[in-house]
Every structure is written in structure tokens, then in C-alpha cells.
Symmetry: C2
Subunit: 378 residues, 2 copies
């Protein structure tokens, strides 16, 4: 029973990732991951620019400066990070008309186009819309070279919606385990959406926004010509999944969960904490990677990794820390009441379990310097 | 990319479960579950009695009447559901001194006992405390027949804390797949905590609370003599994991998530929704059961199961509905914009992803009759 209550804090000090997600056909226990919503994270982080709402107030925190440095180090400074959505408007995306060739396609497509147009007409105001492009078969979207794209674009414009452009997301890049494979995924992501944009423009359809977005491709991209926006929101935090595919180092992870040791089961090799999956989320994104990090790596309060100590188990409000299988080390002596940090598999999922960020410098001081509210929901 | 936002509602109309949790040694992809915190749910559900805060206001909703009926049907009416904690006080539990015989045990035990006593002395007020008993080796707690129990009890009382009693949680009952195995787990859970309580009392230590709690054992228990409290909070909702081990039927599930169809990928057999794992949680508790329900079963808005349609995939804000593998049915024609409900694997985890409950009758009307706020955090 987990009836006691503890408040956990989410720490943020350094820039950092996108998270992974389970794959569709997850009826097998060993399910693979699907990519997280990159742009999502924008709205979770106070003080960050928001891809779709540039008119909102922006606060300046120290983390920005550091983020700028890291972006430069990662050669991302040339990314055109901002779209050109109008302040105060959130572009609506007509969702994926079915892309297969065959019965049902035309009907679905007409519904999608007509829906956007009708809503615009009903509102008496053009609703801005992006068309989702499928660049790798990972999720939704229309084919960049298919007829659906042009038909949806035409219907939107004819019916009075405001066609703002196209976007895609290289979901498969989360399974690219080498820099070269990630670079190829980035090129494919860029090529698909630029092809789609050019086809729309050739038809005389306005397409100012050409948007890509996944953290692995944002870091691996060599060619972003024609791109106006990168929605790689997860990179403000990074996480173990990103470290696992080489996008960052463990030391780059900016988000952790502070937990308190509440018991020992030395007969089982367990250190019990007050942070279970309600604190870390259920995300086990590293389970399918080369190194399975359990529910997360353990660090001291200063962020130094405690070698071979992993959060190997989680019940609702209890965590189990134990040594990595095969480790020759001894279980560290963490007294009841001592506090450690858990580095999460998936920063998006972990952050969503919390109401606020407790911001620490992470370099010179462990004191909480600010508390930032989180927008929960989606 | 998952940048669009949608609000999902959690529905509650009928009584219903405990959820499962990953097991510690989850370094294998096919990890097993660990039991959820039963008592937790008490604090999540407005209008329910709260095990540890009986002084809080209680509202009366129709669901209570129905719950009473269901409890009677399940022969739970004889459960003494309430503890006797003092209003306004949350009992502190000194967490598990290590239970193994050997070095470290005595030190940990002294720390636990001394901690409770010292805190009481510092506060100038006796802090109420429950001692956690380990009934099945599943998580923390001390052995009911070991010396730690009495030493912790003595130290608490001597140092000025208020010993309120003992509690345990039959975590292993989530893996009991027959009614008989669940009954045995319930007996073991009851026997352990009653043994502990009697030993404390024989030492002259006050032990008014004797508490058990897990949903499978709450439903299977044949002997609750000596028990003063059952903390089986999940049973207000039930979920697919509980149905999977025979504790309830699918029709008993009280909680669902409403999602909207946003696209089709007929070439892949997918219906895309706006509800991903941010709506349902990552919990895949049925993955280790006889029938894997993916991320959940799909029903229409009235709660009628759509045969063989399962939420098989989830990204952060997208869900994938497809036919159960091997099904001979055709994918149903769910138009873009239509809404369906997802029955979750684990009601605790799913509810925690939401800010409020949208209450519907579920029998005579689909209209939302009330909105109940949720307490998030833990």
C-alpha cells in the first residue's frame, strides 16, 4: 500500500530531449518505442519560446544562455527555429486523410478538406492550417508525392481556411542508432516536407511554413535548406533514451526527480524510495536500447551518477534502487532520509507527472532558484 | 509531432480497480507487474471516504449507492472499511527497517524507531505511526514474526510517538490468477498483519489499527477476523488488469477516456485518435496477462465494447486503434471526428494523467452530470 504522500520536484538546470514512445503493434511484451511530440515540450517550459504562440510573454532565465551555447556546440545555431504563425493563433491541422490508394481514401480526404473550410466559414475567419506529411510511415500524414496533398490544400484554400504550410516528424529516427542513420533520417524528413511544400506552391497554394521536428534529426541534420521551423522540443531536457542513441551525454540531462530513501531490503539488494512510477512515469524507453536503464539512473543531489545504481523497480509510489545486474560493486550505504536524483528515460513523460519545475543552477549551487509552473494536459 | 492540444475527459459512473505495477527486476523487456497503491485512490476520488482523513467533507453522489450494492454482491459488506485515525492527522509510517538477519539490520531499525520518536519529541506532539508488515516479500516492511517489529514498536512508544498499529499489502496477489489463489493471498495478508498486531499487543504496545489492502484480496477474502481496515482503493474503478485476473467483468469498469478519431491509415489498418499515452498512461499491465489488451479496449460513447478493436499503439498525443491480431472482422468505419472511449489497463495510472473526472450516469444518460476535481501528486 502506498498511502503516504511525498512531494517530488523536477529539476531543470541544463538544456536537453525528445522522448520515445511505444510502437503501435505493442501486443508483444518487448514493444518498441515511438517518438515523442517534440513541439509539445515548448508549451511545458516556462521561459522558452513557443513554436506556435510567439506572441506570448517570454521570460528570460539563465538556462537560455546555456542553451544557446549548447546549441552552438551542437551546430544548431543555423536552425531557423521559429515559424511565422500569427501571434495568438494556433494553427489547426487537418488530420491525415487516409493515404492508401483505394476505397475510402477520397471520402476521408474530402471530409478533412471540407472540415477545415467549413469551420473557417462558420467562424467567419480563416482558420490557419498545416498539412501533416508522412515522411517515414511512422504515424499519420499524407504522402508528399501523392494526390491527397494537393486536394487537401485546394479544398482548404477554396473553402476559406488559411493554408499555413506543411509539417512532418521523423518518428523512425528514434530507432536510428548511429549518427549516420540519424543524418539519413533527417535528410528524409527534410526532403519529404520540402517536396510537399514545393508541390503546393507549384499549384499556387500559399505554403509559408515548412516544418520538421524530432530531437534526433534536429541534432543530426546536415541540410535544412527550405525548412522554416524545427519543432524539437525535447532537446531542452534530454533524457536517457537520447543518451542511449548518442544524441547527448548523460551529463547533458537537465531533468531529474528528487526522491528520498525510505527503507532497505538488504536481503533483496533493494533500497526503497518514496518515488515510484507516479514520480518517474511508466516510460521504459531504454528497455529496447543496448543498455537498459530500468526506470532511471541514480545520481547524488549534485547530479553525479552513482555508479551501477539503477532504479530497477517501481510501484505506484515506491521506487526500488539496486545494482545493475552483473555489477561487482557493493550497494551504497544510503541512509533512510537521504535524497538522490533519478535521471528519467523519457523527460516528456516524467515532467508530465509533476505540477512544477524546481529550478537549480546545477553547477554552483543546489539551492532552488525558481519554481516554474507546468502546463499539464495536452 | 504532437503539437495539437486536446482535452480528454475521464468518465466515472460505475464502481471499479486496483492497478498493477512493474516488478523490480524489470531489466527484461517482458517485465511483470507490481501492485498499485490501493489506499492512494481514496484520495483521488471526491466523495469517497478517505481512509486516512475521515474529517474531510464528504459529498454524496449516486455512485455511492451503486457501490454499496456491488460491495454487497461481492460479499464485502462485512468489511470494516474504516480505520480510526484521528481527523486531521495523517499517520506517519516509519519505513521498513531492513528485515534481513545480519549486518545493517540493527542500525537501520534503530534509525527508523528513533526517527519517529525524535520527530514526535521535536514536534511536542505524538506523531501517529503505522508499522508496515511484509506479508509476501513483494516490497517493504518488516517480518511479522521477527524481532524488528517489537523493537520498532517499543522505540516509537518510548520516544513519544503514537503507535497506531500495523498495515500490509498483498502485492503478490496481482499475480494470483485464480479465485482460490487470491483467497490464499488474502488469508496470508490477513494472517501476517494480525500476527504482528497480536505480538505488539502482547508486549503491551497499543495497536488499534490492523490494516490490509489490495483489490484482489479485498474481493477474495474469506476471513477478516481481527482486521480493522481494508485499503483497496482501486476497486472504485476497476480496470482491464482486474478483469484479466477475474476480479471483475469488463462491464464493471467505471473509468474510461474519451478520444476523438483524427485520421485513418487504412493501408496499415490504423484508426488514429487524439489520445496517446498522455491520455491513457504508459501502463501496459495486461501485457503479461493471458489476454494482452494493448493500451486498452475501445467502446462506443455508451460504453459498449467494439468487438476486437484495441488501442494497440500510443505515441505522446496520438493513439492507434486497430483490430486484435487474428481477428476476422473488418475495421469499423469510424469517421473523423467521431468519439469513442478507451477502457484502461490501469485505472490509477490513467486517472493520474487527468485533472478532473467528468461524471456520467452510464446507464440512462451520456450527459456529464458533474465535474469532480482530482488531487494530483501523491
Amino acid at each position: 500500500a502506498d498511502s503516504q504522500r511525498h512531494r517530488h520536484t523536477v529539476r531543470r538546470g541544463r538544456p536537453g530531449p525528445d522522448g520515445p514512445q511505444h510502437r503501435p503493434a505493442s501486443h508483444a511484451a518487448g514493444h518498441r518505442r515511438r517518438p515523442a511530440a517534440a513541439a509539445r515540450q515548448d508549451d511545458q517550459v516556462p521561459g522558452r519560446r513557443r513554436a506556435c504562440a510567439p506572441g506570448r510573454p517570454r521570460t528570460d532565465h539563465g538556462v537560455h544562455a546555456r542553451r544557446g551555447r549548447v546549441l552552438r556546440r551542437r551546430r544548431l545555431h543555423r536552425h531557423p527555429l521559429r515559424g511565422r504563425h500569427r501571434p495568438g493563433q494556433t494553427p489547426a491541422r487537418p488530420r491525415a486523410a487516409p493515404s492508401r490508394r483505394g476505397p475510402g481514401r477520397a471520402a476521408g480526404q474530402r471530409r478533412a478538406g471540407r472540415g477545415g473550410g467549413k469551420a473557417s466559414a462558420d467562424a467567419g475567419d480563416p482558420i490557419p492550417a498545416l498539412i501533416e506529411i508522412d515522411c517515414d510511415g511512422h504515424r499519420g500524414g499524407v504522402q508528399p508525392d501523392g494526390p491527397d496533398l494537393l486536394e487537401i490544400g485546394r479544398r482548404l484554400v477554396e473553402a476559406g481556411a488559411e493554408l499555413r504550410g506543411v509539417l512532418d516528424h521523423a518518428g523512425e529516427s528514434y530507432f536510428a542508432r548511429t549518427t549516420e542513420a540519424q543524418r539519413q533520417a533527417a535528410q528524409q524528413e527534410r526532403d519529404a516536407v520540402v517536396l510537399a511544400a514545393n508541390r503546393l506552391r507549384e499549384e499556387g497554394l500559399p505554403t509559408p511554413v515548412v516544418s520538421v521536428g524530432s530531437t534526433p534529426t534536429a541534432h543530426a541534420a546536415a541540410d535544412l535548406s527550405g525548412i522554416t521551423e524545427v519543432r524539437a522540443g525535447n532537446y531542452v531536457f534530454f533524457d536517457l533514451v537520447m543518451a542511449g542513441i548518442g544524441v547527448c551525454d548523460i551529463d547533458d540531462l537537465a531533468l531529474s526527480v528528487v526522491v528520498t530513501v525510505i527503507g532497505h531490503r538488504l536481503d533483496k539488494g533493494w533500497i526503497l524510495t518514496d518515488g515510484g512510477w507516479m514520480a518517474t512515469s511508466r516510460d521504459r524507453g531504454t528497455a529496447v536500447q543496448q543498455v537498459d536503464q530500468g526506470y532511471g539512473l541514480v545520481t547524488d543531489l549534485a547530479g553525479r551518477v552513482i555508479s551501477d545504481l539503477v532504479m530497477t523497480g517501481a510501484s505506484q509510489e515506491h521506487g526500488v534502487l539496486s545494482l545493475r545486474p552483473g555489477s561487482a560493486r557493493h550497494l551504497p550505504d544510503l541512509a533512510i532520509g537521504s535524497r538522490v536524483r533519478i535521471l528519467p528515460n523519457h523527460a516528456c513523460a516524467t515532467a508530465a507527472q509533476h505540477r512544477e519545475y524546481h529550478v537549480v543552477d546545477g553547477q554552483s549551487s543546489l539551492a532552488v532558484q525558481a519554481v516554474w509552473p507546468r502546463h499539464n494536459g495536452w
